[in-house]
């Protein structure tokens, strides 16, 4: 295998009427990987995907796919496939016609077309639905038609723009697994846009977390969770998010630094033995555990997880403790400081 990455974005910048879309996006994506672009709405993740697809052209920077410079190529010349959030199925064409639309356009011989169609429908579990119109399908089936259309041509790069956001929660979990399996079985490279961190964390090999048009951190899901590069990542990744505590509340830290700690690493200790005293402001029973939200003048998002049903009265004062090795320290500008 070549060591050169399959998809390369070099310093991509795109502005909309002077307003910033994305800036300085640099990203290497290896072949056969599953990369998730994650971030809150308006962070530029969809723009990045559309730039990659050729639906928008960047103002600056370079896009290489498989070693070829495709920065200004038309979408149709990039040899990739895409699953749209709305699925973008052609409403007047049957499932089969929708799936082989691209093959027909690219003049694939009929016998070949038939065979590829059958395989794509088999993989996506749509055999028997060939002649249905999209209007006669459920949301989940439409989503699978969009998937079938994306894989039928055997393109090596597949872009997905929030493909699960129109499905209900239960189906979303099932399809998540299907997409992951599909990507592994076919060995294709997937770039996946989502605002749902649990989707990104559970599916992706690499997560690219974005905010305001800039990449905040690129890494494996566990890296983002265990070693957030800055306070934004710390607060975005994980449910519940990492609590951030001002250095004033804890002795032994430099002034202006922020200390992060995850709920699972916080313990409730008897009064007088803790490192911080806080007030209970809510108790949420989640089934296997209870999430207790705490308030403290110098901290945000402080909470603690206790096993089983363990509600605490609102307004109760409790002491908490944690170990130094579980702390993350960020400097005044929010960047992670070297491990102490």
């Amino acid at each position: 295998m070549t060591t050169a990455p399959f998809v390369v974005l070099k310093d991509i910048t795109k502005r909309w009427h002077g307003q910033l879309g994305v800036e300085g996006i640099t990203l290497d994506i290896p072949e056969g990987s599953f990369t998730a672009l994650l971030g809150p709405s308006g962070c530029g993740k969809s723009t990045t995907l559309r730039l990659l697809a050729g639906l928008e052209l960047p103002d600056e920077g370079q896009i290489l796919i498989d070693g070829k410079d495709l920065t200004t190529s038309a979408a149709s010349d990039r040899n990739l496939s895409m699953v749209f959030q709305s699925y973008a199925l052609f409403p007047h064409l049957s499932v089969a016609e929708n799936v082989i639309f691209g093959l027909k356009v690219r003049r694939v011989p009929k016998a070949d077309r038939k065979q590829k169609l059958r395989k794509a429908l088999e993989i996506t579990g749509l055999l028997g639905f060939e002649d249905r119109k999209p209007g006669a399908l459920s949301g989940g089936q439409r989503q699978r038609v969009a998937l079938a259309r994306a894989i039928v041509a055997g393109q090596r790069l597949c872009l997905m723009d929030e493909p699960l956001s129109n499905l209900d929660a239960k189906l979303r979990h099932a399809v998540r697994k299907d997409i992951k399996k599909l990507q592994r079985d076919l060995g294709i490279t997937v770039v996946y846009v989502t605002h749902d961190q649990s989707e990104a964390m559970s599916m992706a090999d690499t997560v690219v977390l974005m905010k305001d048009g800039h990449i905040q951190q690129v890494g494996a899901p566990e890296d983002l969770y265990n070693r957030p590069d800055n306070t934004f990542v710390a607060e975005f990744v994980g449910a519940p998010a990492m609590a951030l505590i001002g250095s004033a509340a804890l002795p032994g830290f430099d002034e202006g630094t922020t200390i992060g700690i995850r709920a699972e690493n916080i313990h409730v200790v008897p009064k007088g033995e803790g490192r911080m005293s806080c007030t209970v402001n809510e108790s949420e029973f989640l089934g296997s555990e209870t999430l207790i939200g705490l308030s403290h003048a110098d901290a945000t998002g402080l909470c603690v997880l206790r096993p089983g049903l363990s509600l605490m009265p609102e307004g109760a004062d409790i002491d908490i403790s944690f170990r130094d090795e579980h702390l993350h320290v960020f400097d005044a500008s929010g960047q992670r400081m070297a491990a102490r």
Partner: protein
């Protein structure tokens, strides 16, 4: 239990009839009754002082079929329809695709295309009269720049009908464009993007995606164009009055002439009935046959 179900059902029925009645009353008064009355009067002879009207059955129709002017007028109208319907629809579609694309001054282009529709037909006809007038007219002025001889577009049998046809197309295309434009805007942008990614050219996308999705609109416009090809005759009064030697005379104009210039009302009624019958058949074919092959969203 059943009493209040009955009451509910009756309430709904009354509601339904109340909603239905205004249209029913108006249509009956101004469409259905006149049609039946016309059919009835087409079967009577023309009354004069000496010979009062009498029932003659199909005689008016037989007379009509024996009338060479009738056949000439039918032929004119067929040419008129065959030219105006496809050409105005085609131009409307082309203009809509153009006015819907990302061009600068899009608002201006749309307004410009729509202007002929806003103009009353009589005013439009006067405008075109100025274009067509031999010697003074704009067409002749332009022609003379290139050394072409003066042409009396409206005054000679070979060109009169075509001059009329061009005015109609000019008038109709902008109107039909508005419907296409509205329909084009309901096609989601991501269909084009999906087609783009699948490798489809602009033309393939238009032919395989846009045109089929516009079919309901095309059907609607086609019905309107067919009706207009019979109905739209206002400009004849200004431009040619059906002449020269009936070369540009259309059926409705002929009906008007028969009824109000020659005062042969029963004959005019017979011709009207024929027009209604033909239009009814055409509308039925369009709706029952083409409708089934059209995708509605």
């Amino acid at each position: 239990m059943s009493a209040h179900v009955n009451l509910e059902r009756r309430r709904q029925a009354i509601n339904g009839w109340l909603l239905f009645s205004p249209a029913a009353v108006l249509l009956t008064t101004f469409a259905f009754y006149p049609s039946v009355a016309t059919l009835w009067s087409s079967m009577f002879s023309r009354g004069t002082r000496r010979r009062p009207t009498e029932f003659v059955g199909t005689e008016n129709y037989v007379d009509l079929f024996a009338d060479p002017t009738f056949w000439l007028v039918v032929k004119n109208n067929l040419i008129y329809a065959a030219a105006t319907i496809p050409v105005s629809i085609g131009i409307a579609l082309a203009m809509a695709l153009w006015a819907n694309s990302k061009i600068s001054a899009r608002g201006f282009v749309r307004t410009a295309y729509f202007t002929p529709t806003v103009l009353p037909m009589i005013a439009a006809a006067n405008l075109w009269l100025f274009f067509y007038t031999p010697g003074l007219g704009v067409l002749d002025q332009i022609g003379s720049l290139f050394g072409l001889p003066s042409v009396n577009w409206l005054g000679q049998p070979e060109t009169a009908l075509w001059a009329i046809i061009i005015v109609t197309i000019w008038k109709e295309a902008g109107f039909f464009m508005i419907f296409y434009l509205a329909a084009l805007q309901t096609i989601p942008e991501d269909l084009r993007e999906a087609a783009d990614i699948e490798g489809a050219s602009r033309w393939t996308y238009t032919r395989r995606i846009v045109l089929p999705l516009l079919m309901p609109t095309t059907l609607f416009i086609a019905v309107n164009a067919v009706i207009n090809s019979v109905k739209l005759i206002d400009h004849l009064f200004i431009l040619t009055k059906g002449g020269p030697s009936d070369a540009s005379k259309l059926i409705l104009y002929y009906i008007w002439e028969m009824a109000f210039a020659f005062f042969h009302a029963p004959q005019a009624a017979a011709l009207t009935i024929l027009v209604i019958a033909v239009l009814g058949i055409v509308a039925a074919v369009q709706f029952f046959y083409l409708d089934r092959r059209t995708h509605y969203q």
